[in-house]
Symmetry: C2
Subunit: 128 residues, 2 copies
């Protein structure tokens, strides 16, 4: 297994960037620890470490909108990775956008530039 360097932050986490494997669009960024890294490699599905829940976070586990790993790239220092993924369902963001980075910094503040795939009010209401 490829060993990464989790020693540089106090919490043992490094950033993992999910990028659409076909378009190159950056979908989201979350964190992994050693256990989440192993789980991602073993399952082929992007698995992060949730800082708020302090638990594994298999992206899309409940909705089925998982991220299927197509390729993984690691950086020169072994402390940052790219997951090239197929985003099932088309939207990575809980706000319903394809990418979590749906806002651009402009002179007057933030402007929405992303593409909305679903309405979270509808989807999450149905899921209850």
């Amino acid at each position: 297994m490829v060993n990464l360097d989790f020693s540089k932050s106090a919490d043992g986490l490094i950033p993992a960037i999910a990028q659409d494997w076909q378009t190159g669009e950056i979908l989201m960024q979350a964190f992994i620890n050693a256990a989440a890294w192993e789980k991602t490699l073993a399952t082929g599905v992007a698995t992060y470490w949730s800082r708020s829940r302090q638990a594994f976070w298999i992206k899309g586990e409940t909705s089925g909108h998982v991220q299927r790993i197509k390729e993984i790239l690691v950086d020169c220092d072994l402390d940052s990775v790219i997951f090239k993924v197929e985003q099932v369902g088309g939207a990575a963001c809980h706000d319903g956008y394809k990418s979590c980075y749906f806002r651009r910094v402009e002179a007057g503040g933030l402007r929405i530039v992303g593409e909305r795939v679903f309405d979270p009010a509808t989807v999450y209401a149905q899921a209850k």
Copy 2:
């Protein structure tokens, strides 16, 4: 100014991802604190916070190979940003590759898949 959320990590840092503004290739990922964020916005040149030096890190400051900001995207939680940049000199990685993510995870380990733009042995020797 757009305020980001630097409160989620003990060190007050959030990831900043540098992406080639034309090709969409992810070049590198580093960290910013509030001061580096302000400096980036004010100067239009990617400025990170070096964890090892505990100081501002203007990428390419000594070599002239800076990253000119073309666009900035922020994520849904305001705790991760994308710098869409023009990488002056063509290489973001100190190892001479266009991108720091020049290795792919394969069954047997890591395989170099990136494009080398310069030979670091030559370049850094000349710089001394």
